[in-house]
Amino acid sequence: MIMAALIAVLILGGFSAWFSEQSHADAPRWVALITLIIETLLLVAQYTGTEHLEIVAAHLSQTWLADFNQPWIPRFGIRFHLALDGLSLLLIALTILLGFMAVSSSWTEINNRQGFFFFNLLLCLAGVSGVFLAVDLFLLFFFWELMILPMYFLISIWGHENRTYAAIKFFIFTQVSGLLMLLAIVVLVLINHHQTGVYSFDYFILQNTEIPADVAFWLMLGFFIAFTVKLPAVPFHTWLPDAHTQAPTGGSVILAGIMLKTGAYGLLRFVIPLFPEAAHQFAPIAMTIGTISVLYAAMMAFAQSDIKRLIAYTSVSHMGFILLGVFSWNLLALQGVVITLLAHGISAAALFMIAGALQERLHTREMADMGGFWAVLPRLSALTLLFAIASLGLPGLGNFIGEFLVLLGAFKINVLLTSVTALVLILAPVYSLFMVQKTLHGRLLNQSTLFDGNPRELVSLSLLVLATVWLGLSPGTVLDIAAPALKQEIQLSAAMAP
């Protein structure tokens, strides 16, 4: 019940924010803030209430914390089925945290059509939460598409100079890959229908379908392409730099922090458990794509002169680790994946917030126009340095744990690819420190009056600092929440486990 409320509150909050603009011009952002506070309370209630769980559906094992199942389109056996386990819980927590960050960074940046902006923002978050909760494949697709449209509006209405191109590119990439996934879903359901005589889109029922090997490969590919376009992985990544650069700060925070994670979540939850043998066959190719993403994107990041574009490419690079880790499919690698998801969400969001703050002050994103900020913006510069270091994987911060666990887990499966991927430990400092040097050190070029971080920005960024330090120094809590779900996934897809 609380799960459906999680989504519903965001949607209702979105509508309230839109309509509240008529009463007062600044009302929408407060409405958005209140909505997110309610969400947090709901999530805490869900988490603490799971010890007193009443009825969990019989076929669900103990790793699932909550279940909500209502009929929707009985003709095709489509149900409104939501379920929550440790993995989903963590990702929804990240969603809400980054929702706060997005609202905070858009507080003064958005001046026109505020209501519609926060409507789109909250609807995006609703779509993302829905993806993390859905276990009916049709519902998954529904929420998947629900994420895209508000983000399209966010980019195309409040974005920067090249926003139309970036928004349409983002939409077409995601939509076409989503249609491939829809086709795969439909074929899977039809195969199941032929075997059991019943139409069902339910994830738990479809896991037991016997699929002939060659068909399974194509179906897995359909899902894989949809999720790797979202992840994104080279060569499907080219929408990301444009979309991230042209989006407003709040949009970038959500895009980099959460929406990319839906691709990773899809790989974890759907691609491998639904098609274990096909995924096992495909694993070497997938891991190679991961390695190439990591290194290629790191190189591209170094080549950029636009700070947001640089950060965008670093996101691609970090997400390459996900592919490597997921297709290794052992507990170490998967735990690394979960930590990377959370840590990257936090660090990427922080970096985009800082880039947005800089752009608000300087009205430029070109690093050639920046330099010497350490002298005039001490606090912001310190935070920039911290998150740049987090991004390159310094021990003590969250990203390191994730990358380390992934490399450790992947090493057992494929030594060559892991060794090549480890080269990023050289390339990541190259781009991170390059960014730091260009913006913070050197001569102060821009003589306009620059204000250091105002309290709102500093508080938001400090929250993120705390989060990433906590992840880096004691990831145990997070790993404990996710472990049961991960272990069960490995067990169920025994064909993949080494």
């Binding site: 590119k169 990439f173 080219t238 190189m299 591209m300 080549a303």
Partner: protein, 160 residues
Amino acid sequence: MNISLLLLAVLALFGGLLQIPLSSVFPVLLNSQPENAFNAVALITIAAPFLGLLIAVLFYLSGTFSAQRFASDGWIKSIRQFLLSGWAMDALYNGLLQRPFKALCKRNKNDVLDGLYLGSAWLSRSLHHLSSAAQTGQVRWYASSMALGTAVIIAIGLLS
């Protein structure tokens, strides 16, 4: 001050003759060669400082060779430069790793992989212009293409 220097000088010259009882620290000897073996290595090790002393005497004491002329020789200058720059390790890294990497990155700044998608956009645009050319607005063209289309369809139907 002088006394300590004098003491150090005496020790430096004759301290090697002292026997340090190391057998408790390194009990097992691998190559048990007689301690006083006199081989080529020992010869070179002893001869080298005297050779250096000889060269110094020739250059600076007796003036047989001119140090200035020696230092201003082209070859010697480049060797000196090479040795000073840490055996040119930096230059090696620069040429082998840094420059190619930076050049590659700069060349690819606009992402060659994007060309795939820009190409498909270009293809769609060209196909659009191609098919728009058929919309001439003339009824005779429309009617004749209908007739031609029907003929083609009948042909396909009969041939397949």
